[in-house]
């Protein structure tokens, strides 16, 4: 059957008429639907398409014709269907796809970049050219790119933290994988992410506090890079009035670079503490010294039952343990284990598998790293597999009571499962007992690096958890819906780099 409806003196744009017809056509029992302005020409056209009953209508009328078994029911819904359906969430504007459009929405002074390595350098370069400081989490950036980025940053008086920079604390705000610590008088410059995390957490637990922690990227103190950002970071902390103590932490640097860095640090006139992991000072020693405590006396030998197996998620924590114990210590965050799967600080699966394979008589050493970016309950994820090992697991928990996971709760979970929890990574490695000394906590007045103008504002490219964490600290973050150039074709990316 055919049903018609004339809406007298009703004008609708041709687009709306098409939309109406298409909505009618979606109704059950409708084979065809047409909606037109009843102009003579349109009527003529309609007559060629369908056998119409006689109609009384004028050019200013809207005519609806529906054909099908349920035509009458459909035509009764015309008024309702003429009203625009609002799509749920349709009012939302699209996320910016590039740094440029993100900055058009809101200015920002820090780019947090965690996109895949082959594309990270170009994004970092763009951020620098727009006058932004950069936190470059990505690894896999070439040495050439690292050098040229750091040169460009220095020329522009900008701070490039990275590449392969896991941790920073800017103005008290954790960036990347970092722990929540109070503000204090200790500034940290570090080429090691978990090194910064361990030292800053120990400082917090002893009652001290941190002004800023500046990550430099893991290769900064190599001969090839020459410590550019470490020097820059020392300079920033030298100028920062609230920073009274400067801590430098790194994997072992080349001696030439180490000498230059130490000269620069001494020239600040501030108290300087350094920990080149693998040397004589442990991360714990550095934290104690920074807080004004003497280093703890080391035992003459290791009390752990042999063999010692270490399954670590933090690279520097693993190195330190390897150096102190000489055991078989694996860094499960190393590229060789993380290729194609998430980092063990985020996903405990690989470590659970490995723990199952540890001989029952061996001593297992592990780290549990808390803080922003880490698994929401890393101890909880491990306790089932650890409980069956009885008392033969020794853990250190890198984090603070302020962290989202709460260190006290994590320690309690581990102890309940029979795990021995040491006060620090070094204490776990050496089997040292006892707690950290404590001083009266002092909350220092807020200061900020002059670089960041007192107000951090971020564009995030990559891991959304980084953006979530920064937002939870009240930092304005514009998220870029990033996609690799040309779907990730590296050859095209190289061509683009040469042509732009």
């Amino acid at each position: 059957m055919i049903a018609t409806r004339v809406l007298p003196d009703t004008y609708r744009d041709s687009g709306t008429l098409m939309a109406l017809a298409s909505r009618l056509q979606e109704l059950p029992g409708v084979t065809r639907a047409m909606s037109i302005m009843a102009t003579p020409r349109n009527l003529e056209l309609l007559h060629t398409m369908i056998a119409l009953p006689p109609l009384e209508c004028a050019a200013s009328d809207l005519l609806v014709v529906v054909e099908g078994a349920e035509a009458a029911a459909a035509i009764a819904r015309v008024d309702e269907l003429l009203i625009r359906r609002v799509v749920a969430g349709g009012g939302a504007t699209a996320q910016p796809r590039t740094l440029k459009s993100a900055l058009a929405l809101r200015p920002a002074n820090l780019a947090v970049i965690s996109v895949p390595g082959p594309f990270a350098a170009r994004e970092a370069r763009r951020a620098l050219r727009r006058g932004m400081h950069v936190f470059l989490f990505s690894n896999g950036v070439s040495l050439d790119d690292e050098r040229s980025l750091k040169r460009e940053a220095a020329e522009r008086d900008l701070l490039l933290m990275g590449p392969d920079c896991g941790t920073a604390i800017i103005d008290g705000i954790p960036v990347g994988f970092a722990n929540r610590v109070r503000r204090g008088n200790i500034g940290i410059v570090g080429a090691s992410g978990t090194g910064i995390q361990e030292i800053s957490s120990l400082i917090q637990r002893m009652g001290g506090g941190v002004t800023h922690a500046i990550g430099t990227g893991s290769r900064d103190l190599s001969d090839a890079v020459g410590g550019t950002v470490t020097m820059q970071g020392i300079g920033l902390l030298a100028d920062d009035e609230a920073t009274e103590v400067i801590v430098i932490v790194s994997k072992p640097p080349s001696s030439a670079v180490a000498d230059a860095v130490m000269r620069r640090a001494k020239a600040t006139g501030k108290r300087v503490v350094h920990c080149f992991v693998g040397g004589t000072t442990t991360l714990e020693d550095a934290a104690l010294e920074a807080c004004g405590f003497p280093a703890a006396a080391r035992p003459s030998g290791i009390s752990h039952r042999l063999p010692i197996v270490g399954l670590f998620s933090g690279g520097t924590l693993a190195s330190e343990t390897r150096m102190l114990t000489g055991g078989e210590i694996l860094d499960l965050g190393d590229d060789e284990f993380t290729r194609g799967r998430p980092h063990p600080m985020i996903d405990p699966t690989i470590r659970i598998e490995r723990i199952r394979a540890v001989p029952p008589d061996a001593t297992l050493l592990i780290d549990v790293v808390l803080g922003e970016g880490s698994h929401p309950d890393p101890a909880g994820a491990l306790i089932d597999v650890l409980r069956v090992r009885g008392g033969k697991t020794v853990a250190s928990v890198c984090g603070t009571e302020l962290d989202p996971q709460n260190r006290d709760a994590q320690v309690a979970k581990l102890r309940e499962a029979g795990v021995v929890v040491a006060r620090s990574n070094a204490a776990a490695a050496l089997g040292m007992e006892g707690e950290l000394p404590r001083m009266a906590a002092t909350q220092l007045a807020r200061t900020s690096l002059p670089l960041f103008g007192g107000q951090l504002s971020v564009v995030n490219l990559g891991l959304t958890s980084f953006a979530d964490n920064l937002e939870s600290h009240g930092v304005p973050v514009t998220r870029v819906d990033w996609s690799p150039p040309s779907g990730g074709d590296e050859e095209l990316a190289r061509i683009l780099d040469r042509l732009t």
Partner: protein, 403 residues
């Protein structure tokens, strides 16, 4: 100078030339008079080159309509070539045979000419029934001579200012040139009345009044002259044509000469007319994406909210998609401004580097033809070119400059 700077300079020059063009509608003539070198049994079509064997259903239908109109037999043996190879453009199937009238446009700045095939909803979409042929005859016998006489009497009509006025009245100049159609009609009515018989003038006015999209041919012709002005700028990566034939989508790039970079044409997403659905749709077709090439159409959707419903998008979505075009273009048009954007200019000059880099593809308003020959228009919507057109062009550019 780095390659990046060299290309930026070349692109600025390409866009400067686009903006220097002064497209003007000057005549309506049979194709054989308007297009130098057109011979009998030549049939021009939209998009990049295509053979009869690979031709889409709708384009074949349009060829059949042209055969009936010219009274030629054996369509498979016609000499097919793209409009773009002859200085012209045609909407949808874009099929032009020697007796068909075309708009003639001239760039006042350079004296270069372009033609634009006429817009209508039948033959252009593959219909070849009597109604489709009759419409062409009416054009040939009455409408085209009347319009030609009137525009010659008027001395031509400048299109850049007319388009600017249309943009302020809710047009985007591709799927919606409604305001420009009215403005153009108002402009030529006195000349029509003065220069042709009154009954012919009235029928002409009535015809255009009933066809809101009439101006599309002229916005396409204007865009073609602008894009042509930007051709062959050494080292420029600016796109000078985007065109589809219902089988392939092709682009041309200023610094890469007349080469086409093609990939299979996608099917548009949109709304369908009574009795049709996405299952009937042919792949995207037409030279009309020349409007987007010149910063119009999908690039200025913020100024034409009335078409959102037809395109099946919300105002916010359409606006966001069009805003993204500023990421892949090199300039803004100084006089084609958008009140809704506080009078920012239309984004102009698509840079293939930026497309590949950002992954943002040009957004194109389009109409939808049937996959089989023999149907009039079946829908309208939005589409984007295949990324492969841009990546293969960029690779060719890199090879050409030895990078």
């Amino acid at each position: 100078m780095s390659w990046g700077e060299r290309i930026d300079t070349a692109n600025a020059e390409a866009v400067r030339r686009m903006l220097a063009a002064q497209p003007r509608w000057i005549d309506v003539l049979p194709a054989r008079e308007a297009i130098p070198g057109m011979r009998e049994r030549d049939v021009y079509h939209s998009g990049p080159p295509v053979t009869w064997e690979r031709m889409s259903g709708a384009q074949r239908g349009a060829v059949l309509c042209a055969a009936a109109f010219e009274v030629w037999s054996d369509p498979a043996t016609f000499n097919f070539s793209p409009n773009h190879h002859h200085g012209g453009v045609g909407p949808m199937a874009g099929v032009v045979s020697p007796s068909m009238p075309v708009f003639v446009l001239e760039d006042r700045a350079s004296g270069l000419r372009a033609y634009a095939a006429l817009e209508e909803p039948r033959m252009n979409f593959g219909a070849f029934d009597e109604a489709a042929v009759a419409l062409r005859r009416y054009w040939r016998d009455e409408l085209a001579p009347a319009l030609g006489t009137a525009i010659r009497a008027k001395g031509g009509l400048d299109l850049v200012p007319l388009i600017a006025r249309g943009l302020h009245r809710g047009d985007e100049m591709h799927n919606r040139p409604a305001a420009a159609t009215s403005l153009m009609l108002l402009d030529i009515i006195p000349d029509l009345l003065r220069s042709v018989a009154q009954d012919v003038a009235i029928r002409t006015i009535e015809y255009i009044r009933e066809d809101e999209i009439f101006f599309l041919s002229l916005s396409m012709g204007a865009a073609k002259l602008m894009a042509d002005a930007a051709r062959d700028v050494e080292h420029s990566t600016v796109v000078t044509a985007m065109a589809r034939n219902g089988t392939d989508f092709g682009i041309r790039v200023s610094g890469l000469g007349d080469r086409w970079f093609t990939a299979p044409s996608p099917v548009a997403k949109g709304l369908y007319l009574s009795g049709f659905s996405a299952a009937d749709a042919g792949a995207d077709m037409g030279d009309s994406a020349i409007t987007e090439t010149a910063g119009l159409g999908g690039f200025v959707l913020q100024g034409a909210p009335a078409i959102n419903e037809m395109l099946g998008s919300t105002a916010a979505e359409a606006s966001a998609a069009a805003s993204e075009m500023r990421e892949i273009t090199v300039a803004e048009h100084p006089s084609w401004t958008l009140p809704a954007l506080d009078f920012r200019g239309a984004p102009l000059g698509i840079d293939i580097r930026k497309v590949v880099d950002t992954g943002i593809l040009p957004i194109i308003d389009t109409a939808i033809a049937h996959r089989e020959p023999g149907h009039p228009i079946i829908g309208a919507g939005l589409t984007r070119p295949p990324m492969d057109c841009f990546t293969s062009a960029l690779r060719a550019f890199a090879a050409e400059v030895g990078v």
